[in-house]
């Protein structure tokens, strides 16, 4: 279970998150929506431990573990997975080598035995099929020369291999055509399970047609200002973020 309490964070002098409270139970899918600059990606970055953000107040716990105290690799070992908005290209390191190093480190941390190359290849075989991946991508350098769709597919494939307890999808739909969007969504849906939490960060409702959330939250100016069920996403699609702003103004 992910528990975020009163989270404040800033980049240099600019306060971006201004008191986030969010609880995601195992098995639930939560969507975080909001206009550009509302703090969606910052929230994803702070949870996964990217440098450059200063947490000034609040806490983030996953299954009782204080994530803010951990290095990014320790958060990964604790079960956090971030699907990047812009996956990084790493020339000179093959996808297979990279994934096996990642998986074995995570396993080591969990007290599980490392996998030999043969065991590893067996482990990933079904996931390659699930993500409809061209297996030649495995022997290529990480994300190098991949199309936008291939990069996003590779992110979800990595998630399938690492089997995290919390998956954060940061604008995974950006730059995807409808076919790629379906493949990526199918992959995420296949990974939904009673012991896994998923946080989908997105600007548009489109992705949520395929990955149907249990809860939708609207993030504005660093705070969650409205929460609801999946119908909230449809309302946002219909009326835009302006209607939430108007509601807030009316209350004030």
């Amino acid at each position: 279970m992910l528990e975020i309490k009163n989270l404040h964070a800033r980049v240099e002098d600019k306060e971006i998150l201004r008191g986030i409270n969010l609880t995601v139970n195992p098995g639930e899918v939560h969507a975080i929506m909001g206009p550009n600059g509302s703090g969606k990606s910052t929230l994803a970055s702070v949870i996964s431990g990217k440098s450059g953000y200063e947490v000034t107040e609040g806490s983030v716990e996953l299954n009782g573990v204080d994530l803010l105290e951990l290095a990014p690799e320790e958060r990964a070992a604790a079960g956090v997975f971030l699907a990047f908005q812009y996956p990084v290209e790493i020339p000179g390191v093959t996808n297979t080598y990279f994934l096996r190093a990642a998986l074995n480190n995570v396993r080591k941390h969990r007290g599980e035995a490392e996998l030999s190359m043969t065991e590893f290849m067996k482990h990933i075989k079904s996931k390659v099929q699930m993500m409809d991946m061209d297996s030649s991508l495995l022997s290529r350098s990480v994300n190098e020369g991949f199309s936008g769709g291939e990069k996003k597919r590779n992110e979800i494939f990595q998630m399938a291999v690492l089997e995290p307890s919390l998956a954060i999808l940061d604008e995974t739909d950006s730059g995807l055509d409808i076919d790629a969007l379906k493949v990526v969504s199918n992959g995420v849906n296949a990974l939904r399970s009673p012991d896994r939490s998923v946080v989908v960060v997105t600007h548009y409702q489109r992705l949520l047609n395929y990955i149907v959330p249990d809860y939708v939250h609207v993030l504005m100016e660093g705070r969650i200002v409205k929460s609801g069920g999946k119908e909230l996403a449809l309302a946002l699609e219909d009326k835009g973020y302006a209607f939430v702003e108007e509601e807030l103004a009316a209350k004030a």
Binding site: G49, S51, A76, I90, N105
Partner: protein, 459 residues
């Protein structure tokens, strides 16, 4: 020739590199046709006149050759290396047409006999003379030669030295239209188990029109303190294609000074992958003369220097004809107190319109005491050309580090992986699969020696 007044004077001070010549003169004269003796005598006179360069000479500004000053190098002597020892070395068993030399001397027992296409010769220079004397004499000493070429600081002293002692070496000849399936592997082994020695490997590669080959040239140290002074000459006929990888893994006490000179004819494609992990002092000059239109040249370099190693790469591309493209990427990883030097010259001659030349030099410094000196040098005498160069010296990219860490790879391991990848990207240019694997393993093992490098792990 610059700064002759700054040389180490070989005329008045006794030095083994000179004395050896007088000792060996008679023996040298018995090797090869008379024309060779003329070459040797002339080269010896040039070498003794100009002497050993110092850091006051422009082309050796950053590289101290004090290790050569003591001059206790005996002429190369025979040594025994058996097949098992060779296969246990970093080279392992690479499936190729192998031509092996020990301390500069041809070692037929380690070389492999192969059925070759008609007219192809791959073997020792000495055997080559019996079949292709005319071809050899037409090119030997003519390619590694800067006479009449641009440049005010041209320095050929170590080519003179090699030529003065020219005896055996490797000769590769592909007649017109031959495409060789199997890679060629020239292996120069050094084993100085009875005191310091000097050897002078010489290689001549002649590719006929439309021929195509892949060649690996390895310099590997087995034991002791020694000096390898190598010269390789490559002649590319029209439309010929050559992938030429040089792998230098000399002992860390040794000095390796080598020149590789290439002449490219019209429409030829030449790739040079220059990989340097060894040597206390390692110096490479790669000189490409573009003597026909529409040629393509790829110069790739990867060096790793640790401890007190000095690795100095000088390249020059002479765009003497129009419509030629050259692409150059040189990378260096330097740790501890290592020194790296990159000097990349591109000369675009007056007639060489529509030249397209790109040069990139990148270095990663693993420790604050490691140094890189980088100097792109573009001299352009034509007006319609595209020439770019860029140099970066730096740290690893933060976004790459975070990406790896966010997947569970610890910081130290992520750093090791990215340093490895930085150089491995160059090794990927080697398309001989078994050779690439050897190079990757050698790179991995080399990086493990660094005190600044964490274990790569994951294996």
């Amino acid at each position: 020739m610059a700064g002759t007044s700054e040389m180490i004077d070989l005329k008045s001070t006794p030095h083994s590199l000179v004395e050896n010549f007088n000792l060996m003169k008679g023996l040298l004269a018995t090797y090869g046709p008379d024309e060779l003796q003329v070459l040797r005598e002339k080269a010896f006179r040039n070498f003794t006149e100009f002497g050993i360069p110092t850091t006051k000479d422009e082309e050796f500004k950053y590289l101290s050759l004090r290790a050569l000053e003591d001059g206790r190098f005996a002429p190369a002597y025979g040594a025994t290396i058996d097949r098992f020892e060779l296969e246990q070395s970093v080279l392992g068993p690479i499936d190729a047409i192998n031509v092996v030399f020990i301390n500069g001397e041809y070692a037929p027992e380690l070389s492999s006999a192969h059925a070759l296409p008609k007219g192809v010769f791959i073997g020792s220079l000495k055997d080559g003379f019996t079949v292709y004397e005319e071809v050899i004499l037409e090119h030997l000493g003519k390619i590694a030669n800067l006479t009449g070429k641009l440049g005010s600081t041209n320095d050929e002293r170590f080519v003179y030295l090699n030529t003065a002692y020219l005896t055996d070496g490797a000769f590769v000849y592909l007649p017109k239209g031959v495409s060789l399936e199997q890679p060629i592997h020239l292996i120069y082994l050094s084993k100085a188990d009875h005191g310091p020695l000097v050897s002078y490997p010489r290689t001549l590669i002649v590719l006929g029109e439309n021929s195509d080959a892949k060649l690996l040239e390895s310099y590997l140290g087995m034991d002791g303190v020694y000096f390898t002074n190598a010269v390789t000459e490559v002649v590319m006929g029209e439309s010929a294609i050559l992938e030429h990888t040089k792998f230098q893994q000399e002992k860390l006490e040794s000095v390796h000074i080598a020149a590789t000179s290439i002449h490219q004819s019209e429409d030829s494609i030449y790739t040079n992958n220059n990989i340097n992990f060894g040597g206390h002092i390692a110096r490479n000059d790669v000189n490409v003369w573009l003597d026909g239109e529409h040629t393509e040249t790829w110069l790739n370099g990867a060096s790793v220097g640790l401890g007190h190693q000095a690795i100095d790469n000088h390249t020059r591309i002479d765009h003497a004809k129009p419509n030629c493209n050259s692409f150059e990427v040189y990378k260096a990883i330097l740790g501890d107190h290592a020194l790296g030097v990159f000097n990349g010259k591109i000369f675009v001659y007056e007639d060489a319109q529509k030249t397209d030349a790109k040069q990139t030099n990148k270095a990663i410094l693993l420790s604050p005491t490691a140094t890189i000196n980088t100097k792109p040098q573009l001299e352009i005498f034509a007006d319609d050309v595209k020439c770019t160069h860029g140099a970066t010296i730096g740290q690893l990219r933060e976004d790459s580090m975070f990406y790896l860490q966010s997947r569970g790879i610890p910081k130290d391991e992520a750093r090791g992986l990215l340093v490895y990848a930085f150089a491995a990207e160059v090794l990927e240019k080697v398309t001989i699969a078994s050779a690439r694997e050897v190079l990757e393993n050698a790179l991995f093992a080399k990086l493990k020696e660094s005190q600044d490098m964490p274990e790569k792990g994951g294996e």
